[in-house]
């Protein structure tokens, strides 16, 4: 500990021990604890206490004082734990009988302070930190702490209850991990008393009829198997798995969620070492209700190695609800076992029909679980793509009321599901996920027709519509290309012809979310298909481009932003709106550029302006024909508008645009890998001089230097990177003296200094390329970069300043005395 801190510590301890002094907030106490942890990790705690007796005094004082706040009491308990984590220091504190007084029954445990959850939490955390050595174990046994921890498992405060469970696992692990661990048999008979006690408690809880008790036991075990990997856990499993299995005999199975968590936790750790685990899992799958079994089945299927039979069983559980739906909606009895091993079982049907919430819950879970499984490498194989597609389509049709099931179950399902937005969203997500696989053409046609049905239907809510757009996009992009032909296949073209009028109508919707998702869909579609003749033809024949352009003036800022992105994308592909139906002549394009610039400089909301800057950057990067015509003027206009913007993201995007421009003039930045060793590639002097002239003309430096002193750190950082890149390119050009002597540079430097100080009113004025190079050299860019890389509170983070702050807050440092008058 540095001497200054040692000097301040007694005063601080006095403040903490004084009930009359308002203590600094919780954050300060947490920081103080962090600091003590760091100090004790670096050196001896014993030494620390010996050199700073005020700390032990504080702990003693806390015990004596009656009216201390619960925060200080909790803090002291945790502090004591930190010190006692080292065995010699533990002994030292034991000599003074301090620890029993803090953690034993004579301490806060029996007092009124115990009613505060913070104190109970501090007590647990103190013990958690302290329990690191055998002496601690003996201490815990002697002071009866384990019984208290048992009772705290049911604490009304969830934080306390959860911490109590974790502490039990920690103690168990400590007790079992002794020097004898390697020799200890998995049989429980020779386990240490402390461990026996805890395991006995868990056994009792597992046999209890009270569900909360069972839940507590299961969650302790979950933590144990999840975090502890000693041999002893196998013994624990042998001893407790029969009790766990016995839970399954009860109806309903108690604490099923926690049971699933436990089994998955065991299965994930090292399944082969736990005897009978697979059998228990199989048994559990068959005992739990369809709703409870879903998460377990998913967990099993995600396991890396697991017996095939169990995987089949688990997959069957996930498929069952969909199998029931397929069966119920089938016009005629279909082929048996459509989803293999998952014929709709009666329990699942009962759950589906029992109530709307049960039906919706089960279907949504099944769809979500299968959707998660779909992209995984360990997903079941063969993957029943076709029946799953069929099920998703059927569910969507039941929800829209367009399915006409003939069976009784089908009609009842239809009555439950019709108009249900939650299931619609889940099914559309799932359908989208299934686009990664193929399917028979007939089914794919059904998929597109159900998607179109949803896109057309006025009853689709905005969220459902968004999902329908997303799923449609995924299916469109995954549709197979006709071999030997680079254009879209005829089915897709046909679909597009039906889709575009729908999109048109959606772009006119009174609901802004709908307009927005329609525009996003258009942007994505154009991004991928802008070059396809079939798409271009269909789009240009529709009114979609014209409507998109009109939406640039939408009252909703999100829609304007999406319209900006969409028109930008359309324009990149020469698809923007033209009254005569021609593909973008220059005049039209110019007007779009003017319109976007207008939005950039006048729009009151940030989103559309950010979108404009992104479009501009993209246009510049892709060499958009009309931008390339006069790139200089374009960049100058964009940077000028961006530099005045109040939104830092717009300014940051402006720097991105500037960087693209720089790279186009001077060549790439080299490797993007930060660890690659690359020599700076300097530009040939002729090119450089010319480039600098251009950069000066577009006033890029004015923009970049202003950004360098931006009040928003990301902007400043980005600008710093940009200038460093430029300097690397320009390094050999001219000597420092040449340019540095000119009077221009001196005045510019002065201006920059004022900017740095926050006075940014004065413009930089026109800069000569020579002066720029000189400036780049003279400004300490590396230093600035390092400063910017530090977090904003790095100056105030030292322990010394923490102590000073805490003392200053209560006026001990005496700085504010004059204020008393």
């Amino acid at each position: 500990m540095d001497p200054e801190c040692s000097r301040l510590l007694p005063a601080l301890c006095a403040v903490l021990a004084d009930p009359g002094q308002p203590v600094a907030d919780d954050t300060c106490l947490e920081k103080l604890l962090d600091w003590f942890t760091a100090v004790t990790e670096a050196g001896s705690s014993l030494l620390l206490l010996q050199e700073n007796p005020c700390l032990v005094e504080l702990l003693f004082h806390v015990l004596k004082s009656q009216d201390l706040s619960s925060r200080i009491l909790s803090f002291s308990l945790r502090l004591a734990g930190i010190f006692a984590a080292q065995e010699n220091c533990f002994q030292y504190l034991q000599q003074g009988e301090l620890l029993p007084m803090l953690f034993g029954e004579v301490g806060p445990l029996g007092g009124a302070a115990w009613t505060a959850p913070a104190v109970r939490s501090g007590w647990i955390q103190g013990l958690r930190t302290l329990a690191q050595h055998p002496s601690a174990l003996r201490f815990l046994a002697a002071c009866g702490a384990v019984d208290t921890i048992f009772s705290l498992q049911g604490d009304p405060s969830l934080f306390v209850a959860s911490a109590a469970g974790q502490l039990l696992v920690h103690i168990l692990d400590l007790a079992m991990r002794g020097p004898a661990e390697g020799h200890r048999s998995p049989q429980a008979c020779d386990w240490p008393a402390c461990a026996q006690k805890i395991v006995g408690h868990i056994e009792d809880s597992l046999c209890s009829t009270a569900v909360p008790q069972v839940t507590q036991a299961l969650s302790v075990l979950t933590t144990a198997f999840g975090h502890c990997h000693g041999l002893w856990t196998q013994g624990l499993w042998v001893r407790l798995s029969p009790l766990v299995a016995r839970l399954l005999e009860k109806d309903p199975v108690p604490a099923s969620h926690s049971l699933v968590d436990l089994l998955l936790s065991v299965a994930r750790s090292a399944p082969s070492s736990y005897r009978g685990l697979w059998e228990t899992l199989a048994q559990t799958l068959s005992h739990l209700s369809p709703t409870q079994a879903g998460p377990l089945a998913l967990g099993i299927l995600k396991l890396q190695d697991c017996p095939q039979a169990l995987r089949t069983q688990a997959f069957g559980i996930l498929l069952q609800p969909l199998a029931c739906v397929l069966e119920a909606a089938a016009q005629a009895p279909g082929p048996p076992g459509l989803l293999e091993g998952a014929a709709g079982n009666s329990m699942t049907v009962d759950t589906l029909l029992s109530s709307k919430s049960a039906c919706v819950g089960l279907l949504c879970c099944a769809l979500a679980h299968l959707g998660l499984l779909q992209p995984l490498p360990q997903r079941p194989s063969p993957w029943p793509q076709a029946p799953l597609l069929g099920a998703a389509v059927t569910i969507l049709r039941l929800c829209s009321g367009s399915a006409a099931p003939t069976s009784d179950v089908g009609s009842r399902l239809c009555a439950i599901l019709v108009g249900c937005g939650r299931v619609q969203r889940a099914a559309l997500d799932f359908l989208g996920a299934l686009s990664q696989g193929t399917g028979p053409q007939e089914l794919v046609t059904q998929v597109f027709s159900v998607l179109l049905e949803y896109l057309v239907s006025p009853e689709s809510s905005s969220m459902v519509l968004k999902k329908a757009f997303q799923a449609t996009l995924r299916w469109l992009l995954s549709s197979p290309k006709t071999p030997g032909c680079c254009d879209l296949d005829p089915h897709t073209q046909l679909f597009l012809r039906e889709l575009l009028p729908v999109l048109q109508k959606r772009l006119c919707s009174p609901c802004w979310e709908v307009r927005d998702s329609g525009l996003e869909f258009l942007t994505q579609m154009t991004r991928h298909w802008g070059g396809q003749a079939g798409f271009r033809q269909a789009l240009l024949a529709s009114e979609v481009p014209e409507l998109t352009k009109q939406l640039l003036r939408d009252p909703e800022s999100y829609v304007r932003a999406s319209a900006v992105t969409a028109t930008g994308q359309l324009s990149s592909w020469g698809l923007c709106a033209t009254p005569a139906g021609h593909e973008c002549p220059g005049a039209q394009q110019e007007s779009l550029l003017v319109e976007l610039l207008h939005i950039l400089s006048t729009d009151s909301e940030g989103f559309p302006r950010r979108a404009v800057m992104q479009v501009f950057t993209e246009w510049l990067r892709d060499g958009h024909a009309d931008v390339a015509e006069d790139a200089e003027q374009f960049v100058a206009g964009a940077l000028q508008a961006a530099s005045r913007d109040l939104d830092w993201e717009v300014r940051a995007q402006g720097l991105e645009l500037a960087l693209v421009f720089l790279e186009q003039l001077l060549g790439q930045r080299g490797s993007h890998c930060p660890y690659a060793v690359a020599l700076p590639e300097t530009a040939p002097p002729g090119v450089l001089a010319q480039a600098l002239q251009v950069l000066c003309r577009v006033q890029l430096f004015e923009f970049a230097f202003r950004a360098l002193f931006d009040c928003d750190r990301p902007v400043a950082q980005k600008s710093c990177d940009l200038l460093l890149f430029l300097r690397a390119k320009a390094a050999p050009c001219g000597s420092p003296q040449e340019a540095g002597d000119s009077p221009n540079v001196a005045s510019v430097e002065a201006t920059l200094q004022r900017w740095q100080a926050g006075e940014q009113g004065q413009p930089l004025g026109y800069l000569e390329p020579g002066a720029v190079v000189a400036l780049l050299r003279s400004v300490d860019l590396e230093g600035l970069r390092d400063t910017l890389a530090e977090s904003s509170d790095h100056v105030e983070k030292s322990p010394q300043s923490l102590l000073q702050d805490m003392l200053a807050a209560v006026g001990v440092l005496g700085e504010n005395e004059a204020d008393c008058y």
Binding site: A415, E459, K505, R506
Partner: protein, 671 residues
């Protein structure tokens, strides 16, 4: 209690309820779908319509070609449109005491009933219902009268001929009773019979029942009705809505504890959510106008149009439609827009509070002020000077058979740029469009029906828990086109009773009690005797006085004091309390105990017969539906013990009967 069902249209009901001594007509809706069988009445000569070919039978017989015309494969009657009236033969309508009106759409048949059936009663309705109902009738009369048609077709109605016609004419019901529209004079006379009522006002009908209108949330002044006596309650739910539109919200709580709930006027398009439809309406309107097309909205002059204008008010600026003119054309357009602003007390809370600001409750006032919405009585006159395209026109009639809408259909039908958007749910849009085929104009169907849907009904029924529900048969099964949609029908326990046109239902509940008042002085004289805890009885002798369906027990007149020395004979005295009264009995006979007594020998002389016999040994007890039969086999005697009577059947032995009777009396309380 009976219900006579005079209309088969579930949303345009006309039922008659006989309850106690009153005859109450519930609504008198006019089914106008019959007009769809007629050719449209054009405002200006339409060469297309007048040149339609006459229709001839398959064998080439063309005797009907003057009456029937063919257009795109459909056959239409070329005559003044006629309406299908409620049944007039099922019950003598001159006996109807009162007519209760629930909303302005459900009173369109009123002149037919009040002016042509001998009706002499009173009609009850709220003020907005009457005023807006008058506007609807006025518009209807105006639409039909301003284009007089010389021809009137009746040949086709002949039953033998009708059979030969193609559908739907062949299947049209009761065509002989179809009638032409009434006149303004009849309207005025009918409306003069209306008495205005306010929500929750209690109206006594002959002292027998009380009727009360409740807010139903569907339209300005729309009501549901409670019809109740002291011990019975019938609720009549007609067009109601739980959506937040312009009218006062629906009063559900007052419908609780009904014995019978008559449920009519649910949404006609249960699969279309009004909010989605409004969105669809706006999208299509905007799309058409942006492309330079015109939009035609066939509508009624009141109701949903207020909400549509309000939605457009919020939408047009954001959709960049500020420069597009909106025209509202109806003979009553001006009155409708103005009336809507003055019925503040009938509006929803939000709109009511605006009045205190003071601001007009509906924003269409601002649309009119800023010249975005213009209204005209017809296409003639000012409108033709102001008319600018592209534009949006709201006009009637939604059947597309008469009114200014016919002109716009003829004018705009040929261009695919234009769109007709149907928002009124009363007419099938394909049938409405049939005489305009082939049609290039786009057609959009966005029916906006804010009335209750089946989910809302099932919640409502759970909430108010009526003992019985009565509804049109259409509500008890899924729609024919979607037979699997079991969610689109009423689901309640016990199942709803259904009715159809011209059916008489005996409502499933019996009246068991009637309230009788006791005069205070008579009450004073009563001496109640407690027969079991909390129940006391007293005998009362009084005169029952019944007048105006009120029953009062009055003290009997005192016996006249004998005057002079001449004594009157007691026998001639007609005062009832002078008779020797047998005691009144109460209580029930405990059968087991009774049988035990019969079996035991009895000590006391009152039953000497039993003493001799030492009791009966051959007693058999049988349980019956109403009680028990005690059989004394040897004595050939039966004792029937029921809840409210006991019979001793003993043919030969009067002594035994008397003894048994006395034994029975021993078990009962007397007073």
């Amino acid at each position: 209690m009976k219900l006579y069902c005079l209309s088969g249209h579930p949303t345009l009901p006309c039922n008659v309820l006989k309850f106690k001594s009153t005859t109450i007509m519930l609504d008198c809706g006019l089914d106008m779908t019959s007009t769809l069988n007629f050719l449209p009445l054009p405002l200006v000569q339409s060469p297309r319509l007048s040149n339609l070919p006459g229709w001839s039978l398959k064998d080439g017989n063309a005797f009907l070609d003057k009456e029937l015309k063919e257009c795109s494969g459909h056959v239409f009657v070329d005559s003044v449109p006629e309406f299908c009236l409620p049944e007039t033969e099922l019950i003598d309508l001159s006996t109807v005491d009162v007519i209760l009106i629930s909303n302005y759409h459900c009173m369109m048949a009123l002149p037919y009933i009040t002016e042509h059936t001998g009706f002499t009663g009173t009609v009850y309705a709220t003020e907005p219902s009457v005023q807006i109902g008058r506007l609807l009738m006025e518009e209807l009369v105006n639409f039909i009268e301003r284009v007089p048609k010389a021809q009137s077709a009746s040949l086709w109605k002949n039953k033998d001929i009708q059979r030969l016609l193609p559908s739907p004419l062949k299947d049209a019901v009761e065509v002989s009773t179809w009638r032409r529209c009434y006149t303004m004079q009849e309207v005025n006379s009918a409306l003069s019979k209306i008495q205005l009522v306010g929500y929750s006002q209690k109206i006594e009908l002959f002292g027998a029942v009380q009727v009360t209108p409740l807010s139903s949330g569907y339209a300005l002044g729309s009501s549901n009705w409670i019809i109740q006596s002291h011990y019975e309650k019938v609720s009549y739910v007609s067009g109601s809505s739980l959506l937040t539109t312009h009218p006062q919200p629906m009063d559900q709580a007052s419908l609780k504890n009904s014995d019978v709930l008559i449920l009519t006027g649910l949404t006609q398009i249960p699969t279309a959510n009004p909010d989605s439809m409004v969105g669809e309406f706006c999208s299509n309107l905007s799309l058409t106008v942006r492309n330079g097309g015109n939009v035609l909205v066939p509508c009624y002059p009141s109701g949903v149009i207020y909400d549509l204008l309000e939605c457009l008010y919020q939408y047009i600026d954001s959709a960049g439609l500020s420069s597009i003119p909106f025209y509202f054309i109806s003979p009553v357009a001006n009155s409708s827009l103005e009336f809507s602003q003055i019925f503040a007390e009938w509006l929803c809370h939000n709109k009511q509070t605006k009045v205190y600001l003071p601001e007009p409750p509906f924003p269409h006032a601002e649309l009119i002020q800023t010249n975005k919405l213009k209204h005209y009585p017809s296409i003639h006159g000012d409108f033709s000077n102001d008319f600018r395209q592209p534009c949006v026109v709201f006009t009637g009639h939604p059947s597309l058979r008469f009114g200014d809408v016919v002109h716009f259909m003829e004018l705009w039908g040929k261009s695919s740029l234009n769109t007709v958007i149907f928002t009124e749910p009363d007419f099938t849009y394909l049938e409405a469009l049939a005489p305009y085929q082939p049609l290039a104009m786009k057609c959009i169907y966005c029916p906006i029906d804010t009335r209750l849907n089946f989910i809302q009904v099932s919640k409502l029924l759970k909430e108010v828990q009526p003992l019985h529900v009565v509804c049109p048969e259409q509500y008890t099964q899924p729609p024919p086109a979607q037979s699997h949609r079991i969610d689109l029908m009423i689901d309640c326990q016990p199942p709803a009773m259904s009715y159809r046109r011209a059916e008489v239902l005996a409502l499933p509940f019996k009246r068991r009690y009637e309230k009788i008042e006791i005069m205070p002085e008579l009450a004073d004289s009563l001496v109640p005797m407690e027969i079991k805890p909390g129940v006391s009885l007293a005998t009362v002798s009084a005169v029952l006085h019944t007048k105006d369906n009120k029953h009062i027990l009055q003290p009997p007149p005192r016996p006249a004091q004998p005057t002079g020395g001449k004594k009157r004979k007691r026998a001639s005295d007609d005062i009832p309390d002078c008779k020797v009264l047998k005691p009144l009995l109460s209580g029930s006979i405990p059968v087991e105990q009774f049988v035990q007594t019969l079996e035991k020998s009895t000590q006391h002389p009152p039953v000497p017969f039993l003493l001799e016999q030492h009791g009966f040994s051959d007693i058999k007890v049988e349980d019956t539906a109403k009680g028990h039969i005690v059989l004394l086999q040897e004595a050939e005697t039966l004792i029937q013990i029921e809840e409210d009577s006991t019979h001793i059947i003993c043919d030969n032995d009067e002594m035994l009967r008397v003894r048994l009777r006395d034994l029975v009396l021993k078990f009962l309380q007397k007073f």
